[in-house]
């Protein structure tokens, strides 16, 4: 088995080159790889084509930091608070620079990644009929279905250069367990050329092999694995910590103007070396208060024969 375990800095430096298409935030509002996103910002990556259904405020941060050339997404904002200001500034006024927006719906984005995972150029669907989304997305086209003659939409495949996933636990080879809502994670992993796994904890191969149904990410598709506890904060990771709702409210208030955002970015990202410094800035009390309050273990399953 190849050892893929490395520091997050190294994983981002090696597998997220300037100009790459990067899929992240695949489980919607949970398990968003904020630590990896912040590392992308610190390394000053440019011209990225960001792909994700929602990604909550991580997309807004990457756009505000000037990392994005294009955003291919269904929804960009702050889920709890509404709009996100960097996204608005970039699209409306080209601040800090213009960003191309490719509108998707959640379903069409899921289908695009599924097509990528299947290795086919497109997939058909009924969704988006009658909507303006088709006009804003060159990867959607109406066509006449064979066999039935119905009008349908073709959704063009997306195969990201790199998919970044947050996992609960992984072994050193990138075989990773994920539980809770999966969003578009399985297809984004299978469609990508490279996969970076950011795990809450690295465990032995034996632990992962004990429960193969939970191994959503097979290690042979993975290029790098990094262990980053609390790597998804302020988004939640089931069984590890809850959502830091206040942080989303604070971010909303602290990023209304460009100058405010620049201060925020310095304080929370560029002045910090990595996740450990981020967590000390957050403070131990706050970190502890987010941890699981009441455990809910699943029953054991017998994989014996």
């Amino acid at each position: 088995m190849t050892e893929k375990l490395c520091a997050l800095q190294e994983a981002v430096a090696r597998f997220v080159p300037d100009g790459a298409s990067v899929a992240l935030g695949l489980q919607l509002e949970s398990m968003i790889p904020f630590a990896a996103g912040h590392e992308i910002i610190r390394q000053g990556k440019r011209d990225l084509a960001l792909v994700g259904p929602i990604s909550d405020i991580l997309l807004d941060q990457l756009i505000g930091a000037g990392c994005a050339k294009r955003v291919t997404a269904a929804w960009v904002g702050n889920v709890m608070m509404g709009s996100a200001y960097n996204f608005r500034r970039a699209i409306e006024d080209g601040i800090p620079h213009a960003v191309e927006m490719v509108d998707h719906t959640n379903f069409t984005l899921a289908l695009a990644l599924h097509a990528g995972a299947l290795g086919v150029p497109f997939l058909p669907t009924y969704t988006a009929g009658g909507s303006s989304v088709i006009a804003r997305n060159p990867g959607l086209a109406e066509f006449e279905a064979p066999f039935t003659g119905e009008k349908m939409q073709a959704v063009r495949a997306i195969s990201p250069d790199v998919t970044i996933v947050q996992a609960q636990r992984s072994d050193a080879s990138g075989n990773a367990h994920v539980w809770g809502n999966l969003g578009v994670l399985p297809d984004a992993v299978h469609a990508a050329k490279h996969v970076i796994v950011v795990a809450e904890e690295i465990v032995s191969a034996k632990v992962i092999a004990s429960d193969p149904n939970r191994t959503v990410i097979p290690g042979f598709l993975v290029s790098a694995v990094a262990e980053v506890p609390f790597g998804a904060h302020p988004s939640p990771v089931q069984g590890y910590y809850n959502r830091d709702n206040e942080y989303f409210g604070e971010y909303h208030k602290a990023t209304r103007t460009r100058a405010q955002f620049e201060r925020w970015l310095k304080e929370w990202v560029t002045c910090l070396k990595g996740r450990e410094e981020y967590l000390s800035r957050l403070g131990n009390d706050r970190v502890q208060s987010l941890k699981v309050r009441k455990h809910a273990w699943s029953a054991r399953a017998d994989f014996g024969n």
Partner: protein, 239 residues
């Protein structure tokens, strides 16, 4: 508005629950008249019991603990496209007279484009659920004759073939409930306590038809209010 929205859920419905306010409407319905409704969340969650704690997003811990099933988005969207979702709920920034919703881009008074977050799953819910209900903050500029970006399709020539199965059943605003004629045009069905037909018409951007049987919206029952307050204790969603 939340109580009225919850009443749209029939017992046994399979409900596609969108982000924000619909999250609480589903919980209220489960606690009152629709204990057998099943919730489908686009992040991949199916739930047959209401979440125990207030949700700010559908992916919060309490929505996963005790879920019926945790799947992928594709599997939830498949239920929707396959015609197994009886009702979908969504919010919007603008709604027009044909029930088209816009949550992608509006214009300010000077005509400049203001970018909003976008569809998420809203377009999919509107296109593919057997009926959908939209929630809206009732202001004149939010109810234009025609939205200039159709994020989520209402009634129009596209309601043929597979899409003929669906369309808007109601628009629940902070002032009123609008429903739709057989021809696919919105009309005023009821106005909420504290407002009037005239007030609703004055705050709607087209010549809104009024049902001959127009009446006041039934106020929330004590049971509904109890369910809302027990769940949203600090009034984050319902203040």
């Amino acid at each position: 508005m939340v109580a009225t929205a919850a009443r749209e859920i029939r017992d046994g419905d399979v409900v596609f629950v969108g982000m924000r306010l619909p999250l609480i409407a589903f919980v209220v319905a489960k606690h009152t008249h629709a204990p057998d409704a099943v919730g489908v969340f686009e992040n991949g969650i199916l739930r047959s019991t209401p979440a125990r704690e207030l949700l700010f997003t559908m992916s919060d811990g309490p929505n996963i603990t005790g879920a019926l099933s945790c799947l992928s988005m594709l599997e939830c969207m498949a239920l929707l496209q396959r015609g197994r979702v009886s009702l979908g709920f969504l919010g919007a920034a603008e709604v027009d007279r044909r029930g088209n919703l816009n949550s992608t881009e509006v214009r300010d008074a000077s005509g400049k484009a203001i970018r909003l977050p976008g569809s998420g799953g809203a377009c999919d819910i509107a296109a593919l659920a057997k009926r959908f209900v939209a929630l809206l903050d009732h202001q004149r500029f939010r109810l234009p004759e025609k939205v200039h970006y159709v994020t989520s399709p209402g009634f129009g020539p596209w309601r043929a073939g597979r899409l003929a199965q669906g369309g808007p059943a109601a628009v629940i605003t902070t002032k009123a409930v609008l429903r739709f004629s057989a021809g696919g045009e919105a009309y005023l069905h009821s106005y909420h306590p504290g407002t009037t037909v005239q007030d609703v018409l004055a705050n709607t951007g087209w010549d809104l038809q009024v049902s001959p049987e127009v009446r006041e919206t039934k106020p929330p029952t004590r049971q509904e209010l109890r369910a809302i307050r027990a769940y949203d204790r600090d009034g984050f969603w319902t203040r």
